[in-house]
Symmetry: D3
Amino acid sequence: MGKIITFGEIMLRLNPEGYLRILQAGCFMASYAGGEANVSVSLANYGEETAFVTYVPDNAIGESAINALRHWGVDTKYMFKGGSRLGIYFVEKGASQRPSKVIYDRKNSAVAESTVSDYDWDQIFEGADWFHWTGITPALSDNLSEVCLAACKKAKEKGITVSCDLNYRKNLWTNEKAKEVMSRLVPYVDVLIANEEDAKDVFGITAAGTDIDAGKINSEGYVSVAKQLAETFGCKYVAITLRGSISASDNNWSAMLYDGKEAHIAKNYLIRIVDRVGGGDSFGGGLIYALHNGYDTAKAVEFATAASCLKQTIEYDFNCVNVKEVESLMGGNASGRVQR
Amino acid sequence: MGKIITFGEIMLRLNPEGYLRILQAGCFMASYAGGEANVSVSLANYGEETAFVTYVPDNAIGESAINALRHWGVDTKYMFKGGSRLGIYFVEKGASQRPSKVIYDRKNSAVAESTVSDYDWDQIFEGADWFHWTGITPALSDNLSEVCLAACKKAKEKGITVSCDLNYRKNLWTNEKAKEVMSRLVPYVDVLIANEEDAKDVFGITAAGTDIDAGKINSEGYVSVAKQLAETFGCKYVAITLRGSISASDNNWSAMLYDGKEAHIAKNYLIRIVDRVGGGDSFGGGLIYALHNGYDTAKAVEFATAASCLKQTIEYDFNCVNVKEVESLMGGNASGRVQR
Amino acid sequence: MGKIITFGEIMLRLNPEGYLRILQAGCFMASYAGGEANVSVSLANYGEETAFVTYVPDNAIGESAINALRHWGVDTKYMFKGGSRLGIYFVEKGASQRPSKVIYDRKNSAVAESTVSDYDWDQIFEGADWFHWTGITPALSDNLSEVCLAACKKAKEKGITVSCDLNYRKNLWTNEKAKEVMSRLVPYVDVLIANEEDAKDVFGITAAGTDIDAGKINSEGYVSVAKQLAETFGCKYVAITLRGSISASDNNWSAMLYDGKEAHIAKNYLIRIVDRVGGGDSFGGGLIYALHNGYDTAKAVEFATAASCLKQTIEYDFNCVNVKEVESLMGGNASGRVQR
Amino acid sequence: MGKIITFGEIMLRLNPEGYLRILQAGCFMASYAGGEANVSVSLANYGEETAFVTYVPDNAIGESAINALRHWGVDTKYMFKGGSRLGIYFVEKGASQRPSKVIYDRKNSAVAESTVSDYDWDQIFEGADWFHWTGITPALSDNLSEVCLAACKKAKEKGITVSCDLNYRKNLWTNEKAKEVMSRLVPYVDVLIANEEDAKDVFGITAAGTDIDAGKINSEGYVSVAKQLAETFGCKYVAITLRGSISASDNNWSAMLYDGKEAHIAKNYLIRIVDRVGGGDSFGGGLIYALHNGYDTAKAVEFATAASCLKQTIEYDFNCVNVKEVESLMGGNASGRVQR
Amino acid sequence: MGKIITFGEIMLRLNPEGYLRILQAGCFMASYAGGEANVSVSLANYGEETAFVTYVPDNAIGESAINALRHWGVDTKYMFKGGSRLGIYFVEKGASQRPSKVIYDRKNSAVAESTVSDYDWDQIFEGADWFHWTGITPALSDNLSEVCLAACKKAKEKGITVSCDLNYRKNLWTNEKAKEVMSRLVPYVDVLIANEEDAKDVFGITAAGTDIDAGKINSEGYVSVAKQLAETFGCKYVAITLRGSISASDNNWSAMLYDGKEAHIAKNYLIRIVDRVGGGDSFGGGLIYALHNGYDTAKAVEFATAASCLKQTIEYDFNCVNVKEVESLMGGNASGRVQR
Amino acid sequence: MGKIITFGEIMLRLNPEGYLRILQAGCFMASYAGGEANVSVSLANYGEETAFVTYVPDNAIGESAINALRHWGVDTKYMFKGGSRLGIYFVEKGASQRPSKVIYDRKNSAVAESTVSDYDWDQIFEGADWFHWTGITPALSDNLSEVCLAACKKAKEKGITVSCDLNYRKNLWTNEKAKEVMSRLVPYVDVLIANEEDAKDVFGITAAGTDIDAGKINSEGYVSVAKQLAETFGCKYVAITLRGSISASDNNWSAMLYDGKEAHIAKNYLIRIVDRVGGGDSFGGGLIYALHNGYDTAKAVEFATAASCLKQTIEYDFNCVNVKEVESLMGGNASGRVQR
């Protein structure tokens, strides 16, 4: 099997300890993460060969970002040095009725300022058979949406499978801009991932009967969303994660995978949240692993959902679980008994 | 609008980290708080002009108490220096069936030893239109009950609205003493606040059909309590907070506000508790803000209840939320979804 | 009343902070604990005179283990120095669907390498009227199963009550070996304690209609297990703890005590877990205290169950609660209201 | 006496705990500081009325910066909200032969993007008789050098004393740009402060016989530097701090103040460094306090030097000492005996 | 050999982490200590049988104080429960020119309010041959000076050796009161300990040629102080600790012991201070151990000085070293090489 | 240039925070290190390609050891999984006169139980031109001394340079055993490294005029030691590190390198120690880098000495510095001024 390449931004994540608000913080826990880097870490933890492509500044913060991925076994040779700063995001963990908050300080980051000529995709894709990116990357700058396009084209040329998580971020671009750019990029995508809101925010495609804020989700409605996406853009697979947010502390979590013929809806997990940031990315990591290893639709979405359920019981963005642990949960062992 | 003056004791709060018991503590988290100071912090966070009146010792602990309030925007010019010590309380956070515990070490505090001549209420009330105190203050010493009386009289003289939270503390005085003293003070009060137990403990006024330890509450019964209080002491508003304690980790939380004509019972919140100390004070802060800004009875109690729901998802006594956040919860957004 | 002697291994317990996985840990919280030592700490907290018998290495780690028990009032004069290392175990706290994990590194510990001639049970049992050990001790080494046998015989000789918690550990020995060794030892036991799985793992005795991983428990079925154990080995009391593991965060917890005539099943507690390691040991500590003080069957199992419910709301293995706190919960006060 | 206005940038300071390198950091201690804000905090601690002028983003990071100054008694009403981000700097504490490192990530900060029309100096200077800024501020952006000029002109108009710390930062601008801009601004300055390197870096004015990296300083040579500065720009006072860096752990520290007639060189302190960042600013704060209160040249520089010696024994940028503590050290009490 | 009884106050010690000032503290490290308790811990660490006599409140703080001593092997059966609070002291660690600070909050402590009838010295002294107290105890209250007198008389009656550390605390009493009370008590003392200042503060006895604040000490002059004390009060031994405080970070440390005939001055140690609080007490602990074990004058003072040198390299009040470690330093091994 | 292979044991290092003793530790900082792994990390930080060869258990502790090296860029593909446990060592940092202590708990580790057939040196040495091991490895077990011999022979066969640090550990073997085993292995060594004591402990070769515990070192005497080693075993280079331990806080540090003709003694550094564990290994790392890159004798030993000086100002075993930082110190920049 080939290598899995992911491309995007890695940031310094700063969060207060426990349930402290940013306004109360005397220190910030420091980690390094990002939507695509998180996917690579998931894949490395499953034993896949995977490399992350980005730019980081040539200082101790940039080096720390490289070390953070290398730590988990991600190949970092395409984490180039250049540019002036690493993006930063502040995470405040919510509890009960108090929502989690994220403050982004990611403008002018090294990767956002990189340009098409900074990447040699022929070299990067050597030995690869899968390419993953998310909707955050083209949203960071016009440069980067060009880079994405170049990468997608090269991937197609080489017969590399392309996956994309829509990951709409309203503070990075408008719905209009997102639609325009993504409409050019998604046609290259084989495996498309979205959450309950993305399809609507980016392409205006909706599922009836869902009230996100009330924690109610109409899973069946999402099948039609998936079908519309698959038909519009010619994707082989469309996956939609289904979060039923009861409160910041308790979430229902499931997902649906449509393979062009049938949709399989995974088992639902009622999760007591430890840290839900990175939950969607861990679904992506699980799905890519499953499809890369030839799982059928049902097993693939069950694997991805169980994997991302576990992520939400783990601190920070990275999903530090291995295949055996995911399979144990998939197999029905959700009782949390002590394993000695 | 005028300034809101609060008067009482500020203490050093010491609590072990997380769920550790005091017997297990190798360090104590240090904060500075008190029933009335907490109200001023809530008000400052809502953008109100507010000053806290007290005495603290002239050492680094007393200065830290001043800094702690100034930090959040409370006017500290009436936090006078004098006396020998700052009161201290130790908080041990409960979990599930294990109750939270508070150990007070507040005797002989600077403010408890201050006397009537230490306060110039004419000066303090300059520019103020609201005065808030709680039943803890007169319980601290006979001196202080005299000071409270003097302040209440001066407030009435100047047409300043007076609010009071009964806040009965059985380790500070007996029910008899409380009744005697409070019966002299409450007639000056326009807005009276109590919890499920206070009216009974202080004045022997009860609501039928309530078993506090079993987490069952008879909201309607409290309307009659409120009416009795309003009629006995001539208060314009009587608010009663309604806590249904399922366990130390899960509480139902609501409140009732009676305006002399009608009683409005706020929406109930099922809260996963982060820190419930200061919950009642944050209700007081929310209520004063709402009434000071002319909210009607229903909206006032909804605001105060939502505000104090949020407080209980936040560590330490202070309610670090702004008006927008309270309004978002009031408006029904309780799903805790990440806000980016 | 006489002293209560416990015998076994004390280890260094290392766990990451909060919900961090071992793979994420930059530091480990250090405590010292073990199945039998935990029982002694419970008993000391209830005011019993109790001594723990073991070997620890003559270095700062061994001394810390001694200090840790002395801290809580356990008599440590039979914690002998000798041997080369203290056993270690790593605990990773689970959450929601993610199970807790324990990694043992206890081979070749000082106590496991001690031999029959290292113990003078005549001297150790001076003034004692109760002896407690668990199935972990004979599992540690053949030496130790001989020591257990010698201790049990001496205890019988002196009319000392013997209690034992089966505590089967599959990584220490096989079911076959356990059955063989325990079949020689349990005949000396007056009070036998087991969890839902032990009776099956060690003696192949089962309760119909129970699916542990699904959190479903058939309490009545366990009465027949208890009867079989009592009859086979001639025990006066057989207690079985009943854990219904909904998830790593939420457990049902109850227990059953059979006195040769009747079985009493204790009230069930739905616990939000803080730390469940040591839960079974705290049941043992509660039960021994209750029987040592002449409680009847019903009251004894209620005390032990309430005690062990509280333990699971407390960090680390030791049950830092006193008799008054257990009695308050037994008496029905489970609402967790703040105690000032 | 009037208020003291300071103007500049406040940043989020992030440093690993203790002597950890940034590459090793799992968390960062968070504080808020900046060259001019540090001066205001010093002054507030000495009982002066002082306000800090700046722009911060309207989010929890910006609010935290405001709270951080209000905490210590700085008037924050001119800390305006606007712009997109707060500048950040990372500090790594050196030890022995390993130097401290600072990584700046301050581009595009709220204040750097503010313009002349964002400030109403007439209003800001109301009640003020002193204005302080440093060479960092005009270096941040061309906008800000215009704002500085406007402020200086207005200050002169109103007879307000102007002080400036050259504070050359080579990563913000070139020597040439610095010289050009500062040559326009320094003529408005009454009290000029520099360290051993600034005069050379900005204006090319040097002191013979000094080798900074070898920890050797020729104090007398700096008198000539001061004279040249005073004559060139017409300053009433020129102060130069004199650091003899033996290692990252041990520094000699003194300073010189020239009043147009005579130069006084302060007592030298051999400091075991706790945190030297902010040392120069604390000298500025001490000097302004001393001159604002009419100290003579000798006493002024002794006060400022003792104040800044103490700062370097304190963690973080702010100099948390009061006048009495500075005077005690000035008075010769440097033995560090316990004060009970 | 007999037991060593110490009598006095144990307090909760609260100090910020590292070199943080109290004004900067977000948490306080919690330990339990006191001049006499510290001596008992030293003795227990040297293998002596020792009990500490005091009163603590019957709450989790009082229990923690008991546990803290029991932890190290001190017999706590005479730590009686009663009274309302445990005294508290805040410690701020100095560095370089910044002095350490101690804020006491010890008024109305449980022990200070205990009276003569609360102690049965006949019972307490059973099996004891040494009694140690310090000048802090009678300074706490008139009650306690009566208790001290009663204890001293009983000790004499029983032929128990009495030792006392003058330990003058100017915030507890005046020089005059101290002189009056101590003049009645010291005649019962066999072994008297003082530091460079105590003899002067309490009895007006001085050593010429010493300037404490300048770190200069005239050791020989102290011999005459010792002789005067020995002659005035009939003590067998008088020890004086000699601290040369270069700065808060570096101290010279030595001591002198006079045995009625000769004075031996111990080797001087230049100490880089980790925590000097408790340094004098650790000298007392070392001296009592040495004399209790029949060391000659020279060896006794060398042991006590080396012991207390080590204490000052250890955090918190307790001297966690054993006899072997003290002897290694006495023997000249001060190079600090790693011991594997 | 080829890859550098190191072979040995990696352990879990546990140390209390700051200057706390193990007896006081409530938590242990966790890192993973070992004499040879430390060398690989140094080399990776200098940009060399390097792999570490060992066995670790197949659990979260073993995986963490792998991640810890991968983090810094060491190739971990020869860190095989197998065996039952990872060795552990506890480090207690000394201060001033109190020495640092190390407690080893490394018996029966995965690597110690591995045998000759577990390693395929032909494969491991592919692409390598340097092999490094230390005297700890053969001391761990007879198995491992056979593995060392096999590796050395294979290395010679392939023309790979072999370096060895004698690293005598008296708790692993006797002088006699060490001499016997090392006498068989050192003849394969090209570059031999020792500290002041190793040559004497292993081979009985001494330098006159040196008293290690008194911090006095006779550098010239070590030249004769080096010559004797070079001649006896035919080594091309012999390096000796020279530590003058003034106290646990202050050390002189230098080194000597003999190249068969001349000896160069490096500049001496007076270091305020942050963490000296790993100091010798960082010298080895620096020396290998220097010789691998063709530095001459003088420059090589200066590089290695400067590198290891920096290590001792850094927490934990790993030397987190790059070539530029070492060169800056070599170049004379030891003043520790802030680098912005």
